[in-house]
């Protein structure tokens, strides 16, 4: 996808933030429901960060294992 620099930068940053936000949200909810604070938040925030990085790698199109089709 060939877009202007600012649009591309914006796209990548939202991808990263979205991963972290979803991880934090799930971790926080698990903490509340299961009463395992703070472990849910710790684990899922880290997982969410990893998911955000995966999102960014995919969105940037630099994934070396990307499917060819």
């Amino acid at each position: 996808m060939d877009t202007s620099g600012i649009a591309r930068g914006f796209r990548l940053s939202t991808e990263l933030v979205a991963g972290v936000v979803v991880g934090a949200m799930i971790g926080w909810l698990l903490d509340r429901w299961l009463g395992i604070s703070p472990w849910g938040l710790i684990v899922f925030l880290l997982l969410g960060f990893a998911a955000g990085v995966v999102n960014v790698i995919r969105a940037a199109g630099v994934d070396p294992n990307a499917k060819q089709d």
């Binding site: 202007s4 939202t14 991880g23 997982l47 990893a50 998911a51």
Partner: protein
């Protein structure tokens, strides 16, 4: 009021429609501009294709061009199977595009500057992907979360990351459109506000106001580009996500 860059996003109740419990459902300026967009698109598409000319006229060419544009986008990202989602993607693209474009006209309201609207659109896409993927591929749909060639001992970790990545889609999908439109409209309003503030200072202010005025003109051009581009990005991401529902195998 003129200098308040946030004022343009106010929701105004025009007239009440219904009342559920203590919650009043009103027809707002947001709903008004959605209606304008839908009516405009309908009139444009129906009116331009009414004659069904073999050699298309000016308006019919425009309608055919918009069809070809969206169809090409779907075919290149989701394959020819994705064409069954053409009505959905075309509706989304035209709706967002027209709303963004109408919002550039002064004194109008831009519906996509409210995250409620973009989140509703993104969640619709998300649930269509989820439900269609499960309906068409059954449990194979979950293969989306299990990449091939991963050693079994780190597989649970990878699956968790993939699931989170999948769940984060509606957030990045909706925030991108919303934030681009919001930021653009605030910037425009702030620079336009400088013009009125400076001109209040007399002759020297008039000279100084030339710069923000020029920037406002330039920004309007940039925002036109952003409005079109974000509608396109929203549509193409929808296609990419739909592609996962149609071909879940990695």
């Amino acid at each position: 009021m003129a200098a308040d860059p946030i004022h343009q996003f106010n929701i105004v109740n025009l007239f009440p429609v219904a009342k559920i419990g203590s919650t009043e459902i009103a027809y707002t300026n947001s709903a008004l501009f959605m209606t304008i967009a839908v009516a405009g698109i309908s009139i444009f598409l129906l009116g331009s294709t009414m004659k069904r000319g073999l050699v298309p006229g000016r308006m019919q060419s425009l309608a055919e061009l918009s069809y070809e544009f969206v169809a090409d986008t779907i075919r290149s990202t989701a394959g020819s199977e994705g064409m069954r989602f053409f009505p959905f993607v075309f509706t989304l693209f035209m709706f967002v595009f027209v709303i963004n474009m109408v919002g550039l006209i002064p004194f109008t309201f831009t519906v996509t500057t409210h995250i409620v609207v973009t989140a509703a659109l993104a969640l619709t896409v998300f649930f269509i992907v989820l439900i269609y993927g499960l309906w068409k591929n059954g449990l194979h749909f979950f293969g989306l979360f299990v990449p091939k060639g991963i050693p079994i001992y780190i597989l649970p970790l990878i699956v968790a990351i993939e699931v989170l990545s999948f769940l984060s889609r509606p957030i990045s999908h909706s925030v991108r459109l919303f934030a681009n439109m919001l930021a653009g409209h605030i910037t425009l309003k702030v620079f336009a506000g400088f013009v009125t503030m400076l001109t209040a200072w007399g002759v020297l202010g008039w000279v100084g106001a030339v710069l923000p005025l020029g920037l406002t003109v330039a920004l309007t051009a940039l925002e036109t580009l952003v409005a079109a581009l974000q509608a396109y990005v929203f549509a193409i991401l929808t296609c990419i996500y739909l592609n996962d529902a149609i071909h879940p195998g990695h």
